[in-house]
Structure formats: structure tokens, C-alpha cells
Amino acid sequence: MISTTAKKQIDNWIAKYPTDRKSSAVMEALKIVQAENENSLTPEAIQAVADYLDMPGISVAEVATFYENYNHRPVGKHTIRFCHNISCMLNGSDDLIAHLEKKLGVKTGEVTKDGLINVKKVECLGACVGAPMFQIGDQYYENLTADKIDEIVDGLK
């Protein structure tokens, strides 16, 4: 369930914490395992992480369902995480989200037919001076306009 490379990555995180505190690495472990399982976590994946870190399955499930950045349903290859909190809203994020939905032909929460993209409305991502903004993968895109969005989205493969 967890590849050797993933295990190595997880081990790097485990090394940061006291030896009897492996479970501190659970958040990153879930992230790593999610990344190699089409960006979502199945109960089996959660159990695998639990086994790897010697944690009860339910404790890992608690973490996996508490934090926003884990998925429990299939998502697109790219998730566009669009901030719709106050600073972005004041700068027109609602209209831009509508624009994006129209462009992709999906509502937030849905995945495009080709499985490439889904849009998620998220709370403040801490880049309010660059509002409106969204995140794809590790990357922030700020000061968005409809044109800019088109260009970014068209570049997604």
C-alpha cells in the first residue's frame, strides 16, 4: 500500500520527532500516501498509515478527516483551491469562481469529465495582499483576473 519511496519520505519526517513520538509524522505520512494514491485516501490507505506508524486506525482516521487537505473521494489530477474568504471576496473572487466554473463546465466539488481538474472553495490561504488568489498544487497564483485564470487553466495538463 505504501511504496518504498514513500516510506523513505515518511521516515525523514519521523526522524524529526522524539523516537517514541512517531505519530507526529502522521499528517505528512497521510499527505505522502495520498499523493501516490490519486490524491485521495481510502480506508485501506488510512489503515496502512496507521500500521506504519503504530497508531490505532481510528486515530489516523480522526486526523485524516479533521484537516482540510485530505480527500476521501476521487478528485481531479489538479485541485484548484480558490479562496473565497473576505479579502478575496472583496476583490471579486465570487465572480471569478463563477467564471472558472463556467469555463470548466463543473460546479465546485465536481471533477471535469477528463478527470483533470476540480475546483474547491477554500478559506483564507494567507495571501490576502494578492487577492483574489488560488492554489494549485504547491503553487499560489495571485492577483487573478479572468484572463489570467484562463491562461493558467489552459496550461494544466
Binding site: K16, V26, M27, K31, M55, F66, N85, I86
Partner: protein, 422 residues
């Protein structure tokens, strides 16, 4: 402007060790390693400087550091709070991106003062660019021998690690952050015991905000009095303000405490052409909203903002012009707290959803005449009744929006549409 945390901002590779050291960086740390500073001296300087926690609560940093049982015979920790999730706040991200070494040095100094040989910087999970930048800086610092064990053959050791969040505003609350660092859900702990006694992994721990740590090296390099003198009574030094919303040039500004709001607004290019200022949230979404009038008369320091009827918080100044529908804005904020409540305490778990649903109903045109009283009643019942301050943070905007802009809510309820947007 930009004298402390943003000192290197305009220079080449502002994040590099080279740039940092060229600006006097690590001089304090090196002195410490040579034994030229005592923990007591440092705490005194911090107390003199008037530095107050930049994470939102404004607790005096020197005092906080003095609470740690530094002589207790057990592992102690310093933890940096880079979870930055308060809507409107985006300053720590820039410190991490442009001046990571100041955080490292600040944390190392904290470690020395509190006899804590290990530190963690908890960075919110979305901040990958800042994370890599900070990791890069850590590498440089280790390579230079500034971090690790028995540094420069002294008895001082300090190891620093990063930890990444995974998307939960509540993890900015310091004890939720500790839970999260321990690999659990981010549910705040009740206090007492306080982290200074029982913190990370059950050990004494001090938690400070990124900006707080980043301010420490300069304070010690130039003296507490120097820092205090930049600011005003009760609010020492300079502070980063994130000015966002309806301004022409939204940005982070590091300005002296006590700067007038008017000047700050001007630095951000003023409100948009053809619009007038309507309302200001001065410290992040959790602080009460102010009318334009109250804001224009205020100075940007703890007492000044309090006098105007709000709080300095994390220094996140959200500007709203006359095109803003206050019902819509509050609904959005209420949604935020509803979404982010950890679910632990009854009033917050149940109350935030109640607030949001009533507001949403009003927005949908189904408001009832007594909804304003209901909202006031519900926020009042959350206020003060929860383990952590998220409950209060959810209640305060509701109270202040309704108090300051009641008419707009009444109009929406009566007409089923916005007074502003129609």
C-alpha cells in the same frame, strides 16, 4: 518603514544567509555562543522593548519567556506559530519567504533563554514556497554551524525542525497547534496547565508567532530601548500590517506602532477611485469591525485601536468601501468560523452553525423580524463559554457588524435584498 522583519526586503536574495549576515544577522546569536549574553539580560531587554506577541493576543514576549521553568530537568521546546490562517493576515508568509533567518535566530535565542534545545516551526500546510525557503535557510544555518549541538564548542545546543499543517485554521491556536504537532486533531487543550508547564509532548514549551521571533534579534542587537522608542507607550516597536480589501495597492507594511490609520491607508494607495471608505476590520477577521469614522480617527497601536472599539490582533487591516454589503460580508465570515470550528466545545460547535444558517437564510431572502435579536443572543451565548478563543472570534464580528451596521441587516430582512447591491 521596514526596519526590522522586512529589513532585507529590497536587497538581493533577501532570504539568503549572506544578505542576512550583511545586515547584522546572527550577531546576537554569535555573542550568545561566546557567552556574552545571559538569559536574564535578554529577558530584561525584551521587557524594555515592549514587544508584544504578534500572533493576535498581544501578550508581552519578555514576560512569557520568563514563565518557562528554564532550570527544570527535562526537555523543553520552543515552537514558532507560522500557521497564519486568520482571514486578512499574510505577513508571516512574507517573513518566511524573505527573511527566514530572522525567525531561526529568534527561535534559537528563545531556545537559549529558556534552556530549550529543540524547536519546531509549525508552518501551515499550504505555505509550500515559504516552507522550502525556510528549509533552505535551515540548511544554510546548519552548514554554518549555527544550529546543532554544542555550537562553536559552547554548551549551547539548538536543533530546529519544520512541521507542516494540513489545513485547519484552529491549529493557529497555540494548544491546538501542539496537539497537531503531536499527530492529533487540532483540538485546543484546556488551561491550566499552560504550555509553559505542560506543552509539546508534555514538556515545558513556549510558543510565539513568526513575527514575534523575527523581531527578537534586532531588539537585542540594538537594544530594547531602541525598539521601544520606535513605537508608542504600551506598544513597542514597529509592526507588520497587512492592508487588504478595497485599496489600490494592498501590501504588507512594517511601520512604527502608533502610525495613524489615515497614513497607513494612504501607503496602500487609498480606497478605490470613485469610492469612499465604509468600514475597517483592523486586526483580522476575529476583531470587531469599525465604521469609517472611527477608523479614520485611530492610531495603529494596541491602545489606539482599542480606543476606537476594536483590537490590533494580528495587524490585518481589511478595508471595505461603500460598495460592500455588510450582510454578505458577515455571512462569509460566519461561514468561515462555522467551517473552522474544531467541534470540541458545545457552544462553538453548535453556535457557529446556527449563526451561519440564520445569516444565510437572511441572504436567501427568508429573514425574520427577530433574527437580529436571535443573532445577538446566540453570539452572546458563545462568547466566553468555550475552551479557546475561536468561540469569541466567531461571536465578535457578529456583534460588531450588527451594532455598527444594523440598518443594512434590517433592510435585508425586510426587503429580501441588499441595501447596497440591490
Amino acid at each position: 518603514m521596514n526596519e526590522v522583519c522586512f529589513k532585507t526586503l529590497d536587497q538581493k536574495d533577501p532570504w539568503s544567509l549572506k544578505t542576512y549576515e550583511a545586515n547584522g544577522g546572527y550577531s546576537v546569536w554569535r555573542k550568545i555562543l561566546k557567552g556574552e549574553f545571559t538569559p536574564e539580560q535578554i529577558i530584561d531587554e525584551l521587557k524594555t522593548s515592549g514587544l508584544r506577541g504578534r500572533g493576535g493576543a498581544g501578550f508581552p514576549t519578555g514576560l512569557k519567556w520568563s514563565f518557562m521553568p528554564r532550570n527544570a530537568d527535562m526537555q523543553k521546546y520552543v515552537v514558532c506559530n507560522s500557521d497564519e490562517g486568520e482571514p486578512g493576515t499574510c505577513k508571516d508568509r512574507d517573513i518566511l519567504r524573505y527573511n527566514p533567518h530572522s525567525v531561526i535566530e529568534g527561535m534559537a535565542i528563545g531556545g537559549f533563554v529558556m534552556n530549550a534545545t529543540k524547536g519546531y516551526n509549525y508552518i501551515r500546510g499550504e505555505f509550500m514556497e515559504p516552507f522550502y525557503r525556510f528549509e533552505g535557510a535551515l540548511k544554510e544555518a546548519y552548514a554554518e554551524g549555527l544550529l546543532g549541538e554544542n555550537l562553536y564548542d559552547s554548551s549551547v545546543s539548538f536543533d530546529l525542525y519544520t512541521h507542516l499543517g494540513a489545513g485547519a485554521y484552529i491549529c493557529g491556536e497555540e494548544t491546538a497547534l501542539l496537539e497537531s504537532l503531536e499527530g492529533k486533531k487540532g483540538q485546543p487543550r484546556f488551561k491550566p496547565p499552560f504550555p509553559a508547564n505542560v506543552g509539546l509532548f508534555g514538556m515545558p514549551t513556549t510558543i510565539n508567532n513568526t513575527e514575534s521571533f523575527a523581531s527578537v534579534p534586532d531588539i537585542l542587537a540594538k537594544g530594547g530601548q531602541w525598539f521601544a522608542d520606535i513605537g508608542v507607550e504600551n506598544s513597542g516597536g514597529c509592526k507588520l500590517f497587512s492592508v487588504t480589501g478595497h485599496v489600490n495597492e494592498p501590501a504588507n507594511f512594517e511601520v512604527p506602532m502608533g502610525t495613524s490609520f489615515k497614513d497607513l491607508l494612504e501607503m496602500a494607495g487609498g480606497v478605490r477611485e470613485g469610492h469612499t471608505l465604509k468600514a475597517v476590520i483592523p486586526g483580522g477577521s476575529s476583531t470587531p469591525v469599525l465604521t469609517a469614522e472611527a477608523a479614520m480617527a485611530m492610531t495603529m497601536d494596541y491602545d489606539g485601536i482599542e480606543k476606537a472599539g476594536s483590537m490590533l490582533g494580528a495587524g490585518s487591516v481589511i478595508i471595505m468601501d461603500d460598495s460592500t454589503c455588510m450582510v454578505e460580508t458577515l455571512t462569509r465570515l460566519a461561514h468561515f468560523y462555522y467551517d473552522e470550528s474544531c467541534g470540541q466545545c458545545t457552544p462553538c460547535r453548535e453556535g457557529t452553525g446556527w449563526l451561519y444558517r440564520v445569516l444565510k437564510r437572511i441572504m436567501d431572502g427568508n429573514g425574520k423580524a427577530d433574527d437580529i435579536d436571535l443573532l445577538m443572543g446566540v453570539q452572546d451565548k458563545i462568547m466566553g463559554n468555550t475552551i479557546c478563543a475561536l468561540g469569541d472570534a466567531a461571536a465578535m464580528p457578529v456583534e460588531s457588524f450588527l451594532r455598527n451596521f444594523r440598518k443594512e441587516f434590517e433592510y435585508y430582512i425586510e426587503h429580501g435584498k441588499s441595501m447596497v447591491k440591490g
